[in-house]
């Protein structure tokens, strides 16, 4: 796969179809990977591909100007679709080199939670596709690996118990904003957390401000989060942020039968209007 990936990347650069390729390279001590930006043909040998390519590189698409190539897994492609739906990127300047992906692992070698229920091992949109030689589904899915099984434990709790659970989690937040910074869909040029007049969210790390921050962020991503799980991966204090997002995803799916990041032509429910909306208040 790696050879093919490098070949395609080289072609794109050679034919001047792109000026830069965003991909993965081995990290300094070779034990993991890190994002990289490749601008010349001889640079493509730095590109790597294995189960340590956890980053969702679509995050960088808005920063990099001009024609750009991007190495993307199925879940990353979903965020590119979502960004297109929200008119944030111009598809014409982007070349997607999509990779068939079995699963990604964390630093301890554990398969990521999101990969257990992945529906997009083969990405849904691309310019070039690199297929895997080994047969898919190396990970045996367990009975418990249903799309929303990760929510079951919390949903079984009573409301006060759930509140208590999240208060305990939010208490830990240090307001490093890594969750926001790593999120491809958190692209506001001024985040509500940065506003000072009025100050919507108390800026210091306290239970109150942290709660507002985390809830506001979850709300802002309802129907938009494509479940790349990056926020949870980067949170230094291990707040299970994916659960918040997954819950919102589930609500949106039940209410509007909509899953974000799958169809670039579809309008996300929160920017759409229908006369037959099930909610009374909006009709």
């Amino acid at each position: 796969m790696l050879e093919q990936l490098r070949k395609k990347a080289k072609e794109l650069l050679k034919n001047k179809e792109v000026e830069v390729i965003i991909g993965y390279q081995k990290s300094n001590n070779n034990s993991f990977t890190t994002p990289c930006f490749i601008e010349s043909e001889d640079g493509v040998d730095r590109l790597t591909w294995d189960e340590h390519c956890v980053y969702n590189l679509s995050l960088y698409l808005k920063e990099v100007k001009g024609k750009v190539g991007i190495v993307a897994k199925g879940c990353d492609v979903k965020s590119i679709v979502a960004l297109m739906q929200e008119n944030q990127i111009d598809r014409d300047r982007i070349k997607i080199i999509a990779l068939e992906c079995q699963a990604q692992v964390d630093q301890e070698g554990q398969i990521l939670e999101k990969c257990r229920t992945c529906q997009v091992h083969i990405p849904g949109m691309y310019d070039e596709l690199v297929r895997s030689k080994t047969s898919p589904s190396k990970i045996e899915s367990k009975e418990s690996d249903k799309e929303y099984s990760v929510l079951e434990e919390l949903e079984a709790k009573s409301t006060p118990e759930r509140w208590q659970f999240w208060q305990r989690q939010f208490e830990k937040c240090i307001r490093c904003y890594a969750c926001r910074q790593v999120c491809p869909l958190c692209y506001c040029s001024e985040c509500i957390s940065e506003k000072t007049a009025p100050q919507w969210i108390l800026p210091s790390p306290s239970l109150k401000g942290n709660t507002t921050w985390n809830i506001v962020r979850a709300f802002h991503l309802a129907g938009r989060c494509i479940d790349c799980g990056e926020c949870e991966r980067v949170c230094p204090v291990n707040i299970p942020l994916r659960r918040l997002n997954k819950k919102m995803e589930k609500e949106i799916q039940t209410m509007f039968n909509y899953v974000p990041g799958l169809d670039s032509k579809k309008k996300p429910p929160l920017v759409d209007f229908r006369v037959d909306d099930p909610q009374e208040f909006i009709r």
Binding site: N28, T34, C36, P205, V234, P236
Partner: protein, 337 residues
């Protein structure tokens, strides 16, 4: 003063401290290694990779109330603190406090910081198992250094510990405990110390940094080096020597809390002007502060080699690599302003 203590005697020392002081020690809190107030000896970790958050959180807390103003009355913060002991501090973190002292105690004294420093004893624990990301030996420290501590505990393994005081208070704690240290014990200690120092693979030459940084201020290198960075607060907040803060009023409280130069609004002024708006400038500032300006102003680098920034960067940026790769002869126009 040096004394040799068995594990039980050491536990007794800790237990004794718990009766007299508020003890803060490393514990495993739902999978995170953190320094927290402890009341039981069993909670305390002995062999642990350095904590996620540095001990600076007990001197420059993530959030600190400076004073309260409620119903027209100003209520100053209560600065008096029960005597505390931070137990199990690693040498890099103990040294970090000496660097913070330069900021908060040298010229203008910050009373909030000073009172906490004054009422805290530091009992350190030397490292026998440094991590891959550690490089304290590059910054005038080492896994068995006692600088900044009142008392250092060196694990001689097999349940024997060599305790060495480094202040009158530390000596007081040691008095009458354990037994005398003989030549053989010292030898074992030196051997362990040297063995550990050899385990530290990452070696930097910080003496080169200052010149490179001076030459490279406008180098296009920074554009490339900063590309991966997502501008979060992790490397700043988790660094034991980063000390920037913001101040705001929150519901009748004037609070000071951690802030960092990676954030867009860190340098945003009331007029809307922002001298460090771009990612490249914000990224660069961290390097220039630690290895340029601080060195120029205080004669030391603002880093103790704890490796937290490397370990915790969400996109695996290796700051030592960033500095090492900065071209020695960067072609730059003369620096303005």
């Amino acid at each position: 003063m040096k004394r040799l203590l068995k594990k039980e005697e050491l536990n007794r020392l800790l237990l004794g401290l718990m009766k007299e002081y508020d003890v803060i020690a490393p514990i495993d809190e739902e999978g995170l290694i953190l320094f927290r107030p402890v009341t039981k000896v069993e909670q305390v970790l002995w062999d642990y990779p350095n904590s996620l958050k540095p001990v600076k959180e007990f001197f420059l807390p993530p959030r600190e109330v400076l004073f309260q103003f409620k119903r027209g009355k100003v209520q100053p913060a209560n600065l008096s603190l029960k005597k505390r002991v931070i137990w199990g501090v690693r040498p890099c973190d103990a040294r970090s406090l000496l660097l913070l002292d330069k900021v908060f105690l040298d010229s203008t004294q910050d009373v909030y910081y000073r009172e906490k420093r004054k009422s805290t004893l530091l009992v350190g624990l030397s490292c026998n198992h440094p991590e891959k990301s550690c490089f304290c030996t590059s910054f005038a420290s080492g896994p068995h250094h006692k600088e900044g501590m009142d008392l250092l505990i060196a694990d001689l393994e097999e349940g024997i510990f060599l305790l060495e005081s480094n202040s009158p208070e530390g000596e007081q704690l040691l008095k009458g405990r354990g037994k005398e240290v003989n030549k053989i014990d010292e030898k074992i200690r030196t051997k362990i110390k040297e063995k550990t120092e050899r385990k530290i693979e990452r070696k930097l030459k910080p003496s080169q940094f200052l010149e490179r940084l001076t030459n490279g201020f406008d180098s296009s290198y920074w554009e490339k080096a900063s590309r991966q960075c997502i501008s979060c607060g992790i490397c700043r907040y988790l660094c034991p020597t980063c000390h920037c803060f913001d101040i705001a009023d929150e519901e009748g409280e004037r609070v000071r809390f951690w802030d960092g130069c990676s954030f867009r609004n860190f340098t945003k002024m009331t007029s809307g002007e922002n001298p460090r708006f771009g990612k490249r400038e914000r990224f660069k500032q961290w390097y220039y502060h630690k290895f340029g300006y601080f060195k120029e102003n205080h004669g030391v680098f603002l880093c103790v080699g704890c490796g937290r920034c490397l370990r915790n960067c969400p996109v695996k940026i290796d700051f030592s690599e960033v500095l090492q790769q900065l071209p020695a002869q960067a072609q730059t126009p003369a620096r303005e302003g």
